[in-house]
Point group: C2
Chain length 253, copies 2
């Protein structure tokens, strides 16, 4: 006889825990509410703290929880929609773009970037740092690589450095006619500097959006933007994007 092996796959504890916690989050907690600490939770569920943490990590990855060292674990609000695909035919730095220039430097790009720019590894590029804030919270950090040849009329006198310099570079960029752009999204982990700017720990999961701006038949600028994966839902297209939420989440009073 065929031994039916009913449920021969023992579900891992952390997976089951995650399910239980997820349901509790929907039914018994409000956004912003603080969960019991990890040691208490682990004891309550009769598992080691490491196991409990494995479940919490997954829930944080899914944007359901927010954990902060020294503070505690709180129920996260639904992810915010962040528009990425709008201004389909606008340069970075165009009016009403969501980014804020931080500073600017002229340096040789990383080898990988030089390749994508199809420029010599030694040719210096302007590296503009920008940051993006949404709902009062930093959501993304960007590095914009602009070959010097893309902004030939830029004068050194325009501004020596800093945010003013960055704006000058972007202003010069507007003079080119944008012929198109293409974009890629992939998963990454935050470098130390990005993590700091995003108010996360190094290694935090981020969505890396790479955009290539085409003008005069070549790549005139390259943007590498890292978005917080835990709090952001990237939206493309005109109207703002779909929202699929998890269940009945109430708002904290």
């Amino acid at each position: 006889m065929g031994t039916t092996q009913l449920e021969s796959v023992p579900e891992p504890k952390y997976w089951h825990l995650k399910t239980v916690l997820s349901e509790a989050l929907d039914s018994e907690f409000s956004v912003g509410e603080i969960l019991p600490n990890e040691r208490d939770l682990a004891a309550r569920f009769g598992v080691a703290r490491a196991t409990l943490r494995q479940a919490l990590e997954q829930l944080e990855l899914e944007g359901r929880l927010q954990r902060r060292r020294g503070v505690g674990t709180t129920v996260a609000p639904p992810r915010m929609g962040v528009a990425v695909g709008t201004d389909q035919d606008a340069w970075p730095g165009a009016p009403d773009d969501a980014w804020q220039s931080v500073d600017c430097a002229l340096a040789a790009p990383p080898a990988a970037v030089a390749t994508a720019l199809e420029t010599g590894a030694d040719e210096p590029v302007h590296i503009v740092r920008r940051s993006r804030v949404s709902h009062g919270q930093p959501v993304a950090a960007e590095l914009l690589y602009i070959p010097a040849s893309s902004v030939p009329d830029l004068t050194a006198i325009d501004a020596p450095s800093g945010a003013a310099r960055a704006r000058a570079v972007l202003r010069e960029l507007q003079r080119l006619e944008l012929e198109g752009q293409d974009r890629a999204v992939e998963l990454g982990s935050a470098r130390a500097d990005d993590a700091k700017e995003l108010d996360r720990l190094p290694g935090a999961p981020v969505l890396v959006v790479t955009t290539r701006f085409l003008a005069e038949g070549r790549t005139a600028a390259l943007s590498v933007a890292t978005y917080r994966a835990d709090t952001c839902r990237l939206t493309f297209g005109d109207t703002g994007g779909v929202e699929i939420h998890h269940g009945p989440e109430r708002q904290a009073s």
Copy 2:
């Protein structure tokens, strides 16, 4: 005197480990090559296995490594670009679309989906399962929700169920005029069924692409596609997307 506190931040071991391994991957390993097993690696670096694993997990998240239980850890090839934004004005199931229908069911949608469809929670919808293969490897699993009202002329005789039924539903859908679509991308973790189809463990990181198809002034269909985050780079736009790779990766002989 101001105690300068040079390097007062002790870099976590796993972070340093990750950096070392990442450089070794660039310089000393070829794509497809098998790394030493975790116990040996941990011993070699003088850390506990759990710490070593923390580093490996990050590298896998970044698409640098691929680990398979019972087999070992191998150097992953660069992520493959997967076009998502093409056929900007085409219905799912249009000719030459990258998806393959698997089956189809008529059922009440999850509450969250019903909300997004702006349809009653009780109104049944066609749920089409599709899968997407690229370079001989499964890269995405999709659930397509199509309200029965979007395909009014569908006859029960067309096909009872299965892939043929799915194709019949999609064929009916083509009759509507597509007025637009909007799309969102966010990080998620694979449900058990998706994980199986993607040949990954449950909980594996995925990029969830939610697309809403608009016709007749309402949402005529909703697609929720989950892409393997470790192997895929989602590309939007016309030309195929930018590739930023990590360093000199050689090909295994």
